[in-house]
Symmetry: C2
Subunit: 236 residues, 2 copies
């Protein structure tokens, strides 16, 4: 995911789009490998999108889409792919119908896309999503971003991850060896260990994940067997 | 900023460290140029930190510090710099004093640092911050991350950014040309335009910034002169 946004880098706005996308992709069984936040600069957008598009199966961009000077994502993606920016006739027609005699050049800029962009009309999104090569170009406004991601998320659905959570009463240092031993026996297990300060109930939250439900249960069994008797506060 | 965290990429935890750092750096007058979130993998950490350390003046890492299998940041930073991981004698001594006869290998791992690491004891942080070359190695637990950033932030203080905010009643498409004209007259102005859906008061929030207070006031004057008479809802 490529987040385009000076407002995030400068601490004026908290990015809620990447957490939303991360959650949606995980629920769809898709691994999100990288999130990068970059400034509103055409060359930086172009370089980043070019390398992500080559490296990953799918790229999502967020932000920098609109009619003002700081909306440079379309131009950046075009430069990344060596394509032109063109006005999409269908979008232009919609805008002319919607705005009537109030249509003008800044409004028509909303119809500009990278040449060869496919307009996705999945689901109930109010405005189509732009797909060019393996790049989904999404807007920064959280409501519209979420609307579009929700509309297109079935495209990515794969086998889900199964998740078990174990809350532990002991410090990480007291259980580190048991985690290592569990991973030695179940090397494909996705195992996370997250200490929590000052929680009345537990000190560490362990997350166990796999796409193979039986493998997960076996790994969980191994871990529970290794942990000291009273270590587990509860499981989810 | 390099955020190390499978838990963030998999949507289990929302990263609050990068928004915190972004805000603190901005307040100190420092430009944050890039945030990247990467998985808990030594090679990815090493590659990312190596390229960031070469490209930027200062690098902050967040997460992946601790005694368990998924705490790989120290090893990754060491690999990035071609250095060894060593046990720091002062930290080892503190841990031995603190834990007494309960000290063991997993606890002593908290004393492992990249060779040549400087221990910063600025401010009131409970535990020193690790600095190696231009890389500040910070923990992922938000309370401790914030504690340490607050302790070291005076190191980076530079001329502050001055900020003015203008809330506008019109859509972005109606003001785009005035923003362009303002930037043409004041090319050094940092100008952001952020539409807000369904707000009862305004449609766009404009942020104007500069390190030069007089330049900012002049640019703001120009913008206000260009905007239609009743466009401005309020200013901050």
């Amino acid at each position: 995911m490529v987040v385009v946004g000076n407002e995030i880098l400068s601490g004026k706005v908290v990015d809620t789009n990447s957490p939303f996308l991360a959650k949606q992709l995980r629920a769809a069984g898709v691994v999100l490998d990288r999130i990068v936040v970059i400034p509103d600069e055409i060359e930086v957008i172009a370089d980043t999108v070019r390398s992500f598009s080559a490296e990953y199966d799918i790229v999502f961009t967020s932000g920098g889409v609109g009619p003002t000077h700081d909306d440079l994502t379309i131009a950046g993606v075009a430069a990344a792919l060596g394509r032109r920016v063109v006005r999409h006739p269908l979008l232009e027609q919609s805008l002319r119908e919607f705005f009537g005699d109030k249509v003008d050049e800044p409004k028509l800029r909303l119809a500009d896309v990278v040449e060869g962009t496919e307009l996705l009309t999945d689901g109930n999104a109010r405005f189509p999503t732009f797909l060019v090569e393996n790049i989904y170009v999404l807007p920064g406004i959280p409501e519209i971003f979420q609307d579009k991601v929700t509309a297109i998320r079935d495209r990515f659905a794969s086998d889900p991850f199964h998740l078990r959570i174990v809350y532990v009463r002991h410090q990480e240092t007291a259980i580190a060896d048991f985690l290592d031993a569990t991973l030695k026996a179940f090397p494909e297990l996705l195992l996370g260990s997250y200490p929590k300060l000052n929680h009345p109930e537990y000190k560490v939250r362990l997350t166990l994940e796999s796409k193979d439900a039986q493998y997960l249960e076996n790994a969980l069994g191994k871990l529970l067997e290794l942990l000291p008797d009273n270590a587990v506060v509860r499981q989810e």
